[in-house]
């Protein structure tokens, strides 16, 4: 037996799992076919935040006069923006390499395949540097993540030139003048927000009847308005029937409300969801149960094959880095016999558009559907002192409580930096706070977070500043 644990994939699921395993005294190896840190650090969460920050600062330059400031004409150097984003990713990747070393985790760069073995499947790594190495361990955790879903039949697949996935959209040679984004989830909206900030003519197509369809309906609506104000265009309840390419761009045929329409742009971004990386791992030969592109696991990440576990995107939605890390830590603590608390913690979701969107728990509609009698509170930033002072008055905080028990069921926010504020509600929900505890909590003044307090008070008819 070479190791106690082999982790396949070094994204935020895999590398965090490996660190926790090392902390628990397990001799651990991690296999990565590309860059340490996976999509999140290299092609997802982190480099997009770098781009979005460039876009946000650039946008603010056009509002300098609002703050009594002036400066020369604003402009941007697109390759420099991309370069900065790549630099940030590189820096973070280096950080993961350091952490692996610090925790004495052996890193194997290569492509892993599994074969039958006991007590866990054997792992053969086709090393990127050449050659093969077969390693064995008591436990194997799959953390291979996911990739963009494509629909080749109607042209929704990357060609790296005119049709992009998130990966292409992170490293274009030039900023497109016009752009069609297909899919209005977090990924689609973030790219739409970034390219719009740099002046591109952006249209977002959403198949469902509202953008950001997983968010609370009120937040969706507010986001729609806020984005439109910035010049984003939307087609909702619109079905893409065909994406065609020409030398100069793309044309997207769609149907909405029984009417056909064709949109034209330089570039299209396909952001229609995620599919798990379950292929070429040898899962079929092992008999691993896979359902619609995701490995099926029990409450602790265990698959139906002895010694084999799966965590993160490959194990199913929500496809979020922090969910992957959380599952990985739980899984490895379970392996180590620690009996971690169940995987029931509420998982927040954030969209880093301008304005930002953040939420946790049940939407008002979902709460009703689940049989709660929700008590709902709202508070707009427009009457919050700090927001007014900062010139960031867009958005609101909405809270959903169970009318019978006072349990906080969900919180939904749109506004400036709300992705940093949502954590307050996540802590409250994780600790099973009730409205009473939140009302009794002192919020610092002046902060935008006071709107969180007010939203809670409003749910019980006690809002102070509205």
């Amino acid at each position: 037996m070479d190791f106690d644990l082999i982790v396949i994939g070094s994204g935020p699921g895999g590398y965090v799992t490996a660190i926790r395993a090392s902390q628990l005294g397990l001799k651990t190896a991690i296999v990565e076919r590309a860059e340490l840190g996976g999509i999140c650090l290299n092609w997802g969460c982190i480099p997009t935040k770098a781009l979005l920050k460039s876009g946000e600062v650039y946008e603010q330059l056009s509002h300098l006069a609002d703050y009594g400031l002036s400066s020369g004409g604003a402009s941007f150097d697109f390759p420099k923006i991309i370069e900065r984003s790549r630099g940030v990713a590189k820096k973070m990747e280096g950080g993961v390499a350091f952490l692996m070393k610090k925790h004495k985790i052996e890193v194997l760069f290569g492509v892993a395949t599994l074969e039958k073995g006991a007590p866990a499947p054997k792992v053969t790594v086709a090393l990127n540097a050449g050659g093969k190495r077969t390693i064995t361990a008591k436990h194997v955790i799959l953390a291979t993540g996911a990739r963009a879903r494509t629909i080749p039949a109607i042209g929704l697949e990357s060609d790296g030139d005119r049709v992009w996935t998130y990966r292409d959209a992170l490293v274009p040679k030039a900023c497109p003048k016009s752009l069609i984004v297909i899919g209005s989830g977090a990924i689609g909206i973030e790219f739409a927000s970034f390219y719009r900030a740099l002046g591109a003519d952006v249209t977002v197509i959403e198949a469902l009847d509202r953008i950001l369809p997983v968010e609370d309906e009120e937040v969706s609506k507010a986001a729609h308005k806020a984005f439109e104000k910035r010049g984003l265009k939307f087609r909702v309840a619109a079905k893409v029937t065909k994406l065609s390419k020409s030398k100069t761009g793309v044309s997207v045929a769609l149907e909405a409300g029984g009417k056909a329409e064709t949109l034209i742009a330089e570039v299209a971004i396909v952001a229609v969801g995620i599919t798990g990386n379950v292929e070429n791992l040898g899962l079929e030969a092992l008999g691993v149960t896979v359902d619609r592109g995701h490995v099926v696991t029990d409450g602790h990440g265990k698959t139906n094959v002895a010694g084999l576990y799966a965590i993160g995107d490959i194990a199913g939605p929500p496809w979020l880095a922090h969910k992957a890390s959380h599952e990985g830590v739980h899984c490895v603590e379970h392996i180590a016999g620690l009996k971690p608390a169940g995987l029931t913690a509420p998982i927040p979701g954030c969209t880093y558009s301008n304005p930002q969107i953040a939420s946790v728990g049940l939407t008002e509609a979902a709460a009703k559907a689940a049989g709660h009698e929700p008590k709902v509170g709202r508070f707009p930033f427009r009457v919050n002192g700090k927001a007014v002072a900062a010139g960031e008055i867009e958005g609101l905080v909405k809270t959903v409580f169970d009318g019978r028990t006072g349990a906080l069921l969900g919180a939904h926010m749109i506004g400036h930096e709300v992705t940093e504020m949502i954590q307050g509600f996540v802590v409250a929900m994780t600790l099973e706070a009730t409205e009473e505890d939140l009302m009794a909590t002192v919020f610092a003044h002046p902060t935008m977070s006071e709107a969180m307090h007010e939203s809670v008070l409003d749910a019980y008819g006690r809002a102070l500043h509205i």
């Binding site: 049940l362 689940a370 099973e432 706070a433």
Partner: protein, 442 residues
């Protein structure tokens, strides 16, 4: 430095007890193992032994004091060193573990069940046998629980102290209260933080139901009554149960009993019909082991031994002392043990392990002339046998009316573990043994 002696928890569900008697007085010197006090709970009376030595500095609770909370300081020893400081809250785990934290100077005799001991029989509150016993803290007051859990427990009329916590450091969370309420925690998608909460059962007051205040006396609910109420409600609501009834002719059994008792007279042992029933049940369970089982989410537990719990009525309720591994014991031994257990049950002198953890229950109301009845499943046991009175009844034999002594028994089965066919096979095996008692010895 002095050492605090705390009120011990004699069972996982004990919340308070009566300090019946002191065996020491201030100024006495005690050493480890000395009996220093007697504690009475709803179920038992126990001796408390000193675990440290030292001089009794003060007795802080008078003998005869009722409702002394678990972990309250009852006495103080003048010990050596710096072992104890009462204002440091200590978890029960730390207190059980002499290595960590302030050690209590007293322990119950016998030792309270270790935390891994599944709560069973009369003691069970949580159905999750892996959870730790209830968390007491400080002077038995502070219980770590989430705000939502507190509110839900209050709404459901549950005592948080009696609920095993599954959160970090044993914190009681919503799921624990749901479980204690006998409701499986509603499965919620991972992203949703909370599942729909069940509305607590609405019970109208007697006044609301037209019975005026003052027209009745109210007997307060003691610990045993609350335990019975909770366990029976949980079981009757949550366990899909069904009764199977069969008539047994016991003339042969009665004749055998007379012979056996004549033989045993010189030893002063008297075998009752109930003892014969216990023996027959144990042998029948050996033949049909599926009936000696417990349903768990992980699978059906088939118990290795027939640990027969027999219901004994006592003041204010009932208790089910256990004849362990009854299939290995002779009739005389069963008779002696059953008599001793029943007597000590009535005196409330049973130790927790003597009434917790049976695998099959018997409730006999024959002596009260009850013809037949169906008991409520005693979780986690899959079966309970209700034994009626043996009485002369007309029976048809070879086409002609005859008289036989007949006893009706009813087996209540937990359908999740025991199907009708299993229950039937068990009753057939049991009937064969009772009607031809000689077969019990082969």
């Amino acid at each position: 430095m002095s050492i605090d002696i705390l009120m011990p928890a004699l069972s996982p569900t004990m919340e308070e007890g009566t300090l019946a008697k002191w065996h020491v007085k201030a100024g006495d010197t005690v050493k480890a193992g000395d009996v220093i006090a007697e504690i009475e709970t709803d179920k038992a009376t126990m001796e408390v032994e000193a675990v440290d030595e030292g001089m009794v500095e003060a007795l802080l609770v008078d003998a005869g004091t009722e409702n002394v909370k678990v972990n309250a300081v009852i006495a103080r020893l003048a010990g050596e060193g710096d072992s104890a400081s009462f204002d440091t809250p200590a978890s029960p785990a730390a207190q059980d573990d002499k290595k960590g934290g302030p050690a209590p100077a007293a322990k119950a005799a016998p030792e309270t069940p270790p935390s891994s001991h599944p709560e069973q029989a009369q003691g069970a509150v949580s159905k999750d046998a892996t959870t730790a016993p209830p968390k007491f803290n400080d002077a038995g007051e502070r219980v770590f629980a989430s705000p939502l859990a507190r509110r839900l427990a209050q709404a459901a009329g549950l005592d948080l102290k009696a609920i095993a916590g599954s959160g970090p450091h044993g914190r009681v969370i919503k799921a624990d209260v749901d479980a204690a309420r006998g409701k499986a925690p509603a499965s919620a998608p991972t992203q949703s933080g909370a599942a729909p909460a069940a509305a607590p059962r609405q019970v109208q007051s007697l006044e609301q139901q037209g019975i005026p205040a003052g027209s009745y006396d109210l007997i307060p609910l003691d610990g045993m009554r609350k335990t019975i109420a909770r366990r029976m409600t949980d079981s009757f609501r949550d366990v899909p149960h069904f009764p199977l009834t069969v008539d047994l002719e016991i003339d042969g059994l009665l004749a055998a009993r007379a012979k056996i008792n004549a033989m045993l007279e010189k030893d002063g042992v008297k075998v009752s019909v109930n003892d014969l029933v216990i023996k027959a049940v144990a042998v029948a369970l050996k033949r049909v082991p599926e009936a000696n089982s417990s349903y768990t989410p992980e699978g059906i537990a088939l118990h290795h031994h027939a640990d027969i719990a027999m219901a004994v009525a006592i003041d204010g309720g009932l208790i089910t002392p256990i004849i362990r591994a009854a299939e290995t014991k002779g009739l005389a031994q069963i008779a002696v043990e059953a008599k001793d257990l029943a007597a000590r049950a009535r005196d409330k002198k049973l130790k927790p392990e003597e009434f917790q953890g049976g695998t099959f229950s018997i409730s006999n109301m024959g002596m009260m002339g009850i013809k037949s009845f169906a008991s409520i499943i005693n979780e986690p046991q899959a079966c309970i046998l209700s034994v009626g009175a043996g009485e002369p009844r007309p029976v048809v034999k070879n086409g002609a009316l005859a008289i036989a002594t007949v006893m009706t028994v009813t087996l209540t089965c937990d359908h999740r573990a025991v199907d009708g066919a299993i229950g039937g096979r068990f009753l057939n095996a049991f009937k064969a043994l009772i009607e031809d008692p000689l077969t019990m010895i082969v």
